[in-house]
Symmetry: C2
Subunit: 333 residues, 2 copies
Amino acid sequence: MPNVQRLERGPMMTGGTPLRSLDEEELLARILPVFPLGEDLVVAPGDDAAVLRTPGHVVATTDTVVLGRDWLDAWSSGADIGHKVVAQNLADVAAMGGRPTGVLVTLVADPELSLEWVLDHAHGLAEACAAAGVAVLGGDLSSAPAGVVMVSVTALGRLDGEPVLRSGARPGDVLAVRGSLGLADAGLRLLQADAVDRLPEAVEHQRRPQPPLEAGPEAAAAGATAMLDISDGLLRDGGRIARASGVVIDLDPRELAGDVDALAGAVGAEAALDCVLAGGEEHSLLATFPAGTLPGSWRRIGSVRAPAEGEAPGIVVAGRAVTHTGWDHFRTT
Amino acid sequence: MPNVQRLERGPMMTGGTPLRSLDEEELLARILPVFPLGEDLVVAPGDDAAVLRTPGHVVATTDTVVLGRDWLDAWSSGADIGHKVVAQNLADVAAMGGRPTGVLVTLVADPELSLEWVLDHAHGLAEACAAAGVAVLGGDLSSAPAGVVMVSVTALGRLDGEPVLRSGARPGDVLAVRGSLGLADAGLRLLQADAVDRLPEAVEHQRRPQPPLEAGPEAAAAGATAMLDISDGLLRDGGRIARASGVVIDLDPRELAGDVDALAGAVGAEAALDCVLAGGEEHSLLATFPAGTLPGSWRRIGSVRAPAEGEAPGIVVAGRAVTHTGWDHFRTT
């Protein structure tokens, strides 16, 4: 767990209506009307629990964002954080082959937090959920010590077939991606450099990632053997599939050249390569498919083979070992 | 939202192995083996999301506890907090008529928090889940500013029939309870008075409530018309059923005399009455049933009638209006 610095109070804590001036009922009366109700909802928020119609299997995941650790007030609005925390949770549902159906949202906040930030945040949550056809099932509100703002989302989904795990990749499969590579990390670097105009779409992807949610069930139906969403970088997440499956994944640098080129003008060639190979928070889907079954909307970026004699499962680039910091091997190919 | 005081660092922050000395993988390797896997689990923690087998309907609820707001280090161990946060979530599932099947757990903590506290907490979570046949489906770990420790649980359950809402009580129904009344509040008062020996079972119920989970589906099957768990007090929660259902609930003080007497020796007669009528965190189940259908394990404590001409829906005691602070009306009956 990395250390978190205590933050000075930024705009979200000042200049509006502080939460301490409302009781919980008043606050909920402002927030709840913002949220969408999905088709599968049987009992909406307000009772002891929500009830969701579902056949077969339920997919469940949770992810939390903390002010100062996962976002800065100066870089992201309340609505941005709403979009982002929903996106990263729904991407995990899609990465199992599931269709997201509902979320529960918990806000734990310093009572000095402004109501205006909370409502902006609620609208961001609602937009991201509505775009995905997902209901807000309920949540919880709690106060916290000075300077603390934390949003925790649990996402549920339905799974019509079998789940796609990380452990199913087989020698002979192709490795493919659906969505962008490196864009969110490039956006973070532009925010850090105060140069957001150089590639606004990268900054937008950092603030409001849009995972290709429909691609999850599509991949599952097409026979994907392993899948995850890229949250910690292509090398690290690809390595997870490789180790869980006991295979070697070989990335094809020719297939990544266009991704690197697209970012190089904004962040420089070396950083662009880092973004594509190691950039997190992208939330594109990475999957393996048996040869010949790749859906047309997915892009092949590598292959899967059995480990050689004495070789450990893992990820390589054009047949050569690469570590998280060992870009030299890659750059010389 | 009540204000929260910043806390001085108590024992949970000192004297052990601080979380900052472990990386997330090492911490998970210590925590995950503690947790039970339920019968309905298809994919266990470790992939993008967990997968839970379920027919029909999913019940979902979430509840969060924050150090200094919901518990004090001096009064509750890590295991106590694990028991309590699971119990209050599972009670909400049971109060819909559902059977709890799984939980997701998020810990957001100051990196100075001790590993020993976290493992003790994990054991408490695990014990409470195992006792209920509930799986730990996954969760999230995040660091937080100094002094912050927060646990957020989302509970899922299956519902074989129709959900029991708060809004279904009808004139002629009987009001009944399953479980204790006032015990958790009496325990809190004994902790505050540093007099835990006066009624240890009350302190134990405050620290580790044990909701009668099996009574939820039982009540649903028996035809309960409305149900909730008592988290904010009998009067307030009973009033919620009354208003949601558009009825008047009339508590029978003769049926509550034994509950008051059981606490009076430890906290005094006046406080005992307050505990029974207004004590929160009890997590017993409160429900209404059509006359003649009350299961033998439930205890009748009142009746349901239509509002008189010009009378608002709500809760009364022996036919007389009572407010949250208006105990006089009650005490004179």
